[in-house]
Symmetry: D2
Subunit: 461 residues, 4 copies
């Protein structure tokens, strides 16, 4: 935790991490287990990867960055997997299979990949239990496994995002799993504005570098000061009902509402609504929405946050409402401020709270809530921050002042993507709870829609 003053002893940390490793890996395995080998081969859009590739690539990460350098007796599962499941680490000096080829990965089979996972899991367990590992190595191992588990959680989220798209693309459009009819009942409170003073505020994760289990991605550091003008931020996410009003006011036909690049995309892609919305005569509003639980009429979802919109749509909607999107600093400041407020109410004895994690937030609608689709807000106060939708900000993705990537191949994780992408903050209904935090910087190109990406409004105070 960020506020932990001292690191636990290394061996205790190893024990703790071994447990966390099993939990995270099992979450991936169990969610994927409901899919057939055929389902796990599909790659239905350039952003996506086959689910079985996600299962292999996350194992490859542990093999490459943990087992190969630190477990001398480790025997790779298969000589070709080293380059086959590399995704983009060009400094590893190998030819990386083109992403478009992943859909032809009939071999290795899912069975082989599951055996690969088990092979890596056993080796990691041995490594963490090895009493002879030098302390310096163990420290590195703990840090890299922690990174690897965060990597795994990212891919678990992606796998769910990708299979949703795969099933939507499939001509039979199956549901990922059944869902109860009342899953999205509830009435969202009115949208209100939360006013914040701004000023010189601290942004970024206060990493305790002495603790090998404390973690954030390199792009969340260094923590630094920024100056914020006073601003107001919406108490909750924009709902489907509110977004429908934009549609019905010809929002997709008015170029003056859109960024130039966005309007070109609207015209080129013939966008008329968010991804997964389809016209339907059965719905009183004329639309149905594809979810991981299958098709739902829009009427059932009016109070749920709109999602699967691009930055262009979020920005156009905000302009139509006479508002704007928050910057990432505004978003983070508001989120930490709110978390501390809640903490102060529940723990008035703490003089200087500083919370970055969802446990202290409003009831989180994350992966563990098992709705697999955003549900309505439940409180009038500032909520829906860490989930259930990633929230487009107005901030393009670049490094923080003084940003330094990790050394070596691991440095390719984040830094090299710092152009032409836009920051999303928060988390989504398919993000694991231990993967969500207030300082997390997600990023995609502004036309991206296959993520669970939604809208929070802001404006000048």
């Amino acid at each position: 935790m960020a506020t932990t003053p001292a690191a636990p002893s290394l061996s205790a940390a190893a024990l703790q991490l071994a447990q966390h490793y099993r939990t995270v890996r099992a979450a991936t395995s169990s969610l994927c287990a409901t899919l057939s080998a055929e389902d796990q081969m599909v790659q239905s859009c350039p952003e996506a990867s086959p689910v079985k590739w996600h299962q292999a690539h996350t194992s490859w990460f542990f093999e490459t960055f943990v087992l190969s350098p630190f477990a001398p007796a480790y025997r790779p599962f298969h000589p070709d997997f080293h380059w086959l499941f590399n995704s983009y680490y060009k400094s590893l000096g190998e030819e990386i299979p083109e992403k478009k080829l992943r859909a032809s990965f009939s071999r290795p089979s899912l069975d082989q990949i599951l055996a690969y996972r088990a092979h890596v899991d056993a080796a990691i367990a041995s490594l963490l239990a090895n009493p002879d590992l030098p302390a310096a190595d163990l420290d590195s191992v703990l840090r890299r496994i922690t990174l690897g588990l965060n990597h795994e959680q990212q891919h678990l989220e992606l796998a769910l995002t990708d299979i949703k798209h795969a099933f939507f693309t499939n001509p039979l459009q199956p549901a990922f799993r059944a869902q109860s009819p009342d899953a999205f009942d509830g009435q969202a409170p009115a949208q209100q504005w939360i006013d914040l003073e701004g000023g010189l505020v601290d942004i970024g994760y206060p990493l305790n570098s002495a603790d090998p289990l404390d973690f954030c991605f390199d792009n969340e550091t260094p923590r630094h000061q920024v100056y914020l003008q006073p601003y107001a931020i919406a108490n909750r996410l924009t709902t489907c009902g509110e977004y429908l009003a934009f549609l019905n006011d010809n929002g997709y036909s008015r170029p003056e509402l859109w960024l130039s690049e966005g309007w070109d995309t609207v015209e080129h892609e013939a966008w008329q609504a968010p991804l997964y919305w389809q016209r339907s005569h059965d719905d009183p509003h004329g639309w149905r929405v594809f979810t991981l639980g299958g098709w739902r009429n829009l009427a059932e979802l009016l109070d749920t946050p709109v999602c699967h919109v691009s930055l262009f749509e979020a920005d156009a909607f905000a302009r139509w409402r006479g508002c704007r999107l928050p910057t990432e600093a505004e978003w983070e400041h508001a989120t930490v401020h709110q978390a501390n407020e809640l903490q102060r109410q529940s723990h008035p004895e703490l003089s200087e709270p500083s919370s970055f994690f969802p446990a202290q937030q409003d009831t989180p609608n994350l992966l563990e809530s098992n709705t697999l689709h955003p549900t309505p807000a439940t409180t009038e106060s500032l909520s829906q921050l860490l989930g259930p939708c990633w929230q487009w900000t107005a901030t393009p993705y670049i490094g923080y002042p003084g940003y330094k990537p990790l050394p070596g191949a691991l440095g390719e994780y984040n830094g090299k993507f710092m152009s032409s992408q836009v920051i999303l903050r928060g988390a989504s209904c398919v993000t694991p709870q231990t993967h969500a935090r207030a300082t997390y910087r997600n990023f995609f190109s502004p036309a991206t829609r296959w993520q669970f990406s939604g809208i929070r409004l802001a404006r000048a105070f």
Copy 2:
């Protein structure tokens, strides 16, 4: 058969066809059975389809064109399969899934498709055994099943062609099945010229329309006269060794040898050799070749026919040799002439032989030979006509004089593709024997290489 003087009684024909139906369908099933559900999902180039799609589409053909119109009690296996497995019959008035989407067909599963096959097979068996079917209906049923079986055989051939490409594209490049090391031993005889007088000759299949089991595709009719100048045709197919000499004489770097469109393709696609040839230090000639039995050094294949060349390569090779490709009429005339020659030797009592089928040819290297790759010629006389490679001709694909497509949706089978394609004649080592005949008109666009397509030379007499 073309030479059968009278049609058998309809019920005897039904019995005979029921047997043939089982044989053809079983050939498909047994060849596909060696592939996993994952293998059967791959679509690795635009020309290809997933193997499980082939299995479904061929069943769809029987359901749509035989069972739905003629078996009143027939219950479709699945309501969506009717449009899902339609490939291009636009006059059926349904939305056809885009070919590029077939790779996302994780659903229906292979299991469902195998059940679909069984469901259709049972219904066809019942229909053929139904004593109450009116004679006119039975006649139509026999003709359409015969067409459907030819369609199935085409798709079986395509499935093998496609899986070869899929495995070549797979990063692990597995073999479809093991192959003995001496599979391609043998020395091809020297290339010699067979001189033919030409003149006014008959071309096309002499269909006995009274016999519902006599069959050719509509594009092989009407049989008609063409006038041929005297010409000479090579006694066998061009070998890999001969083609290697073209490569080594910088054949792929000399624009004057190529059609303009061919040269553009060479440059755009960076062609340097036939498809499936790859540079290799292990081979004395510097190349290895991917086969359904895995990689072979070129040294092992020098006497085998070169295959997987485009029309452009075949044409450039011929120009380099100071020759040309035969026209389809020259090819057919030579083939029938040779077949009759052989028949005259074995059956001198027949006064006017006219043979169109491979049994009367040299030992055929077709699917049943089970080599799955072309083997060397074995005789000095005119050979390798019906297999083991499709043979590019100089003739663009258009209809014969007086050509009439079948009525209705079945008329979309051939006629609408009569532009910008080139005729190939013969058969390949993955063509079923009962599917090969001298009048068969295969056709592909001139840049196509994924077929087992080879080269036979011709020149002026």
Copy 3:
């Protein structure tokens, strides 16, 4: 001329050719002179070239193939023009500027190019008047200049085709020149069928190789026999009025009428009518048509031949009418037959007439008629053969049996384009009269529409 029994003496031929040279070159210059330097730079579609490029390239042809090899004292006008105005002769071994770059040819200026033309013209005149030129050289010079003049005439036709497209593309859509309001008056006779017996007929130009001024392109030879089934051919070209009926019968919305490749093009290009037709409220039929004389209402053009259609449209129209397009052999046989018929009527004393040129045809509507757009047919007999529209045939473009390209770079003229193109026969209203003949083989890819290409129907007798 084809029927000339003996070649004139070489020096007489040189005199004659010098005169013809001046006539042909002057035709190009005077037509281009109405265009500004800016107009002559435009390249509005990939098929087209800027008019000033046409003027330069045709001069380059004489410089490269006549002056450089045969006029030892010749000094090239500009050192860069040798490669700059080469279009596709790859065997000349130079880098050829990409066609798409021609639109950036602000330099050399039009003034320089006109000076280049004058420089070449003077040198050719000197060469032809040089009494010291060896006879063998003079013979070659005469043949190559003859080829060069045919080349120039092709480019003059292309220049008019291209400038029509350029002005259509220009936002102001100017007319190339004014046109009288009654230019297209006249009523076409009813369409009738001319029945022909076919049989073994001779096709191709009977070149008198002893006469250096006798000329045809290499692809019109060798003259050879083909066997034709009996057939019927339409007496005149299809009119705009007849084509309008196809439009109004939803011709562009019915896939069953189209070749598969054609239907794809219709959908991809959103074709709804021939090129240059545009919807208009001012016309009773709803269309106006862009001509070199500016916009005309379709109502004024109903009896004129439809033009600027692709092979796909011609083929679909024919299918809709229950007919087909003629083969090129059928077209040529009918044309020569008709020419001979006319000649027999006017010159009954000739026992074996064989005419290939338009003078013996019906009144030609070629470039010299100066309509620059097709006019209605004027007779019930077989007419509109050599003009006013190129006529799509059913025949893909390949070489005749025994075809041999010219040796060297000149051999790149025709032969290397013999794939994926379709033969058009006849001539158009922008073809010079001395460039039209019955054996001429024009060819374009089947989607081409910027040519003055029209439709003549055929069917079985």
Copy 4:
């Protein structure tokens, strides 16, 4: 001027602006006058426009936004020019010609466009001299003309940028004008670091909204506070010599130096050096460089600033040097700081200087210097800020906090481009001096190279 306490009387301002109008328009006209009508038609890359289009579009701006609304008697020059020379103002509700079509603008001719310019100039002169114009209208007129002149200056700069590319693309590669051989002599001082403290600083232009002649673009406002960490900035621009060292260290072959999107571009575009660098055997370093004065050997330019690099190249170079690019706030703060420093030295009596314009900078190498290519730095202190190259920053282009676009169609000028573009600061050697200021925010997509864009390094203090 920014520091002007009170606006001059409106009529005096009108007189002053009329003079400025003539100066700016004459600059455009005289630079373009050296180009032929053909030269002014070329459009050689998607970013560029034909020079004659620039001349027309800038006139259209005055016609549309000044004359039509405020000069009641104004008669448009041509009815079609209103839509023809609109570039992107979609809210004007007209169909805008596709940019790719501009190259086919042979009509209207250059002569017509020059007449159009004269027509507009006369009308503007009349309007500014009209004593009856209401004060409120005159105020608007002054503001809009001021905007229009800045717009004109942008297009003059673009015209020079575009014609450079056009001449580079032309096969003859002519020079725009002759240049003296010693134009780029001079030795750049060593690169040194200028350390700055940062802190809370003010950024943006302090517009005096009461003065109709005071001007900045809307995106330079509102002036606001940002917090800067201490930083160091290079005293001068990166030279060609320094950039050559990056090339020679295989900078274009090492993916680890590049942003991911940048590396993809390097590979896709086969970049090996800045735009306009070409390999040459005549230069000791192996390169020559195309300038508006024609080709120069790199050896002559080693001390001049490198230009025509993309953001990707600037960023990779900085990473290779262990540095980074400055943010736009760092750049502006350093520039204003330096300007004030210089002003304090020359005018010590001013207590609070705040200068944003080049007159107070080091000797500017802007358009008026007439070098048309960057020259070497001449001083060791912080220099080369406003010219001679645009300087890529690390800052993506978005609006300042509280940014409001202009109302109506004029609001489309800047705001709608705020995605996927990166800020460049400074000015270039083809920027008019009255168009350069410290707060100017130029922006292009990160792969852009046809601008005079160079590199200034920064790093942590």
